[in-house]
Symmetry: C2
Subunit: 371 residues, 2 copies
Amino acid sequence: MHNALAEKFGIKYPIFAFTPSEHVAAAVSRAGGLGVLGCVRFNDPEELDATLNWMDENTDGKPYGVDVVMPAKVPTEGTAVDLDKLIPAEHRAFVNRTLDELGVPPLSDDVEHATGVLGWLHSVARAQLDVAFKHRPALIANALGSPPKDIIDEAHSHGVPVAALAGAVAHARSHVENGIDIVIAQGYEAGGHTGEIASMVLVPEIVDAVGDSSTVLAAGGIGSGRQIAAALALGAEGVWMGSYWLTAAEYRLGSAADGTSATQRALLAATSSDTVRSRIYSGKPARLLKTKWTEAWSQPGAPEALPMPLQNLLVAEAHQRIVASENPDVVAMPAGQIVGRMNEIRPVADTMGDLVAEFEATVARLNNLGG
Amino acid sequence: MHNALAEKFGIKYPIFAFTPSEHVAAAVSRAGGLGVLGCVRFNDPEELDATLNWMDENTDGKPYGVDVVMPAKVPTEGTAVDLDKLIPAEHRAFVNRTLDELGVPPLSDDVEHATGVLGWLHSVARAQLDVAFKHRPALIANALGSPPKDIIDEAHSHGVPVAALAGAVAHARSHVENGIDIVIAQGYEAGGHTGEIASMVLVPEIVDAVGDSSTVLAAGGIGSGRQIAAALALGAEGVWMGSYWLTAAEYRLGSAADGTSATQRALLAATSSDTVRSRIYSGKPARLLKTKWTEAWSQPGAPEALPMPLQNLLVAEAHQRIVASENPDVVAMPAGQIVGRMNEIRPVADTMGDLVAEFEATVARLNNLGG
């Protein structure tokens, strides 16, 4: 599976793994892919700095990337307290009523209440990037379109390529004009922020549209070597996998004492039909695991989601309560349709081995049909 | 591209082409694929009989298939006149008002008014199959789930395999239990009746679920050799392509004197973003070209679509008026996201040649990455 792109990054396989977990990201890099740490959860730059120190020390000198989330349209800036004032009372009442109806208890008094994700504010993402450049990122990715030009220029001045997501050809063309090095063609089936065009159509369209101006990774629906072979058949030079790592053994965010979390148990039980594309997580359309929580927002009488960044601030404490309640039926988690193939908690190295072996078997099988 | 499935059908390539046009179906069969004639438009069995006579004489002895549409839940039976009485007046008023607003003129007095599609009534589909078995179909496909058991048995008694669409693993499992020979995994991106799971995820899921019990074709988003290679990488043994043949040079349904139609001009101009999944064509969710007509049905105040078969009877005359108006902005046509790659009117044989050549180039490219 080694190709020119892998060679360029100094990795064995062109498998890029987006994950909010530094443990998973490091394990992917050690196993021959490129682990890309999602930074949006780090409201505190010092916490990110410490985490990247850990990455530097736990990746055996292998490259890794970092991922920020800067929306093209700069969202309303402000502290969490200021922004909180913009949230309508009826939205808060709906959230509290829904949590009560779903049997999600309030937080106990001794727990510090979460402020919500501020990483998609440009000010916070810039602080995250300032920290990142003090380390040795091999890639800066923006999980929403092109970042501002000065960020691209700064990354290039450090010799670091920049990647951006695209859900349509027009986005990809715009990224290339903005100087983006790697376009991640994110299909409809992907978890998190996603558009409406499925990978089978989107990937070759974007490959044809950008030509030699940019490298294309395929994202969405990938969790097996057959799917990697399909993505490369469609013309991508590598794959960007996100959801699939949420059930990695190394993933520990939100875990209880036994090592797994209610979220992981919900992911293991879900089929490919158990996701929904909704604005309730961040304010922009994102594919989430379908649970009683997401269903409540699609009932008659439920309010419309607020714009980014307000929606996540609205539901931040709800997410914290949901995690604490440890109920797999009430989970708030971005996940793609590949969740139907996530049926086991496995170490990253085992998964990587299977992906590569199945890819090679698939290519051999196809080769018997060519010519 | 020749494989065991192609061998079994006596065709060169495992490319199955669904089309309502006998001219396109015959051209595909002559070019080495399997043309599958959509019968749902034939309310009159004698017209179908004459068309299949034409197919018998114009396929150079090559095999072809026929496609009917029998919903699993038997729809309300009745003549067009009886069924018409079940359509609410407010729905009729909305259709007439919308056509007026879109500038679609009434039919001239000398035109015979269409009754609408009755082919999805079981009684009509059975009559179509009675006709088909007098000819030499190599495949009976049902474009909606398993047909009734006696139909499957009759096909098998003629030595004809039966195919059915599946949009989820559960449908595929049920098809296998019902004795279906070929499961067509129809992804979200497909034109016409379709589910919510994209091909990248759906195809390998269905392949794994049915195992050796059935053959799997991939449908949805296929219009290039790269996409055929991707479908086969995902584990399908062949592909089922529908939308892509709507811009074949041989396609003549609804054409004006110059040989093309407003529908074809609309298809040529559309991008992959210009489709919508809606119940307004047949009463069941189907992906259509997005036009001013489909947009009108998603405006506030528009009525909900009626169940099958009433919805198509409701819009039958509207469809006829739309075709007569020859306005590419107001078109009512099932089409998949692959429409973005349909940019030229081309003879079927040229398209087939390109599909095969690009498939072989793709396999050769992948082969350099394997091992």
